[in-house]
């Protein structure tokens, strides 16, 4: 069975994990000023492309 010859150093471990990160979501600002995900109706005011898409409870 294949067995590692050397223990992985802290440095190697860190270098391997340098690309392990959670993607940061892009943020756009709604006309009401709230941060929001792009291409989605605003979760606060329910507007999308200048139109009231969702009524209050549904947003």
């Amino acid at each position: 069975m294949a067995v590692p010859k050397k223990r992985t150093s802290r440095s190697r471990k860190g270098m391997r994990r340098s690309h392990d990160h959670v993607a940061v979501p892009n943020v756009v600002y709604c006309e009401c000023g709230e941060p929001n995900l792009p291409h989605r109706a605003c979760s606060v005011c329910g507007n999308y492309k200048g139109r009231q898409v969702v009524s209050g409870d549904d947003a």
Binding site: H39, A41, Q52, V53, D58
Partner: protein, 200 residues
């Protein structure tokens, strides 16, 4: 292999899937706007767009084909007589999917609103609908600055008018009757009222 097999299975048997999309098509044609998951909405487009194409054909065979999906003569009538004519001359694009920000609680499924692009409410007066949306939005609609500014002073003006009126009324009443006795409770009353509000 998946060659030339389009469509999503959605973890359902064929009969389950068919029944679900029949129900969803009925709901969408009834309410013109429904909230569902992203994937279901994308799949529902295939069903509803075909129904509206049938409505545009508007012959007996098309009605019978639509009835096979809808299973409801009233709904077929509504589809052919009310919904279909709105899309006359169209080449598609009968439905619109708008993504919502908040995923579903529980399984974090991305939610959308799927709607008919031409609704009954839009047809008679599209301008009024836009104004209503602007009024409800108020803060975030600087597109029409003039009406927004006009609306603001109007809203303030009646508030100022109504505000001094009740203040004058008790003042007039107080000197007419026993002045010192009634002024005291009037002053106490407003002083006591704000306190419980602050505590609450």
């Amino acid at each position: 292999m998946r060659h030339r097999k389009s469509g999503r299975k959605l973890n359902r048997s064929n009969s389950h899937r068919t029944a679900m999309f029949k129900n969803m098509a009925r709901a969408l044609l009834t309410y013109e706007q429904i909230r569902t998951t992203d994937v279901k909405a994308k799949e529902l487009r295939r069903v509803v767009d075909k129904l509206i194409t049938l409505a545009l054909r508007n012959d007996l065979h098309a009605r019978r084909q639509a009835y096979k999906v809808l299973g409801n003569h009233q709904l077929v009538q509504r589809l052919f007589d009310e919904i279909g004519p709105r899309f006359a001359g169209g080449q598609g694009g009968y439905t619109r999917i708008i993504k919502l920000s908040q995923p579903r609680t529980g399984d974090c499924a991305p939610m959308v609103i799927i709607e008919l692009t031409k609704k009954a409410s839009d047809a008679p007066a599209p301008e009024k609908v836009e104004e209503k949306a602007a009024d409800t939005a108020a803060k975030e609609a600087p597109a029409k600055k003039a009406p927004a500014k006009k609306a603001a002073p109007k809203a303030e003006a009646p508030a100022e008018e109504t505000a001094p009126a009740p203040e004058e009324a008790p003042v007039e009443e107080a000197p007419a009757e026993e002045a010192p006795v009634e002024e005291a409770p009037v002053e106490e009353a407003p002083a006591e009222e704000p306190d419980p509000k602050k505590e609450a």
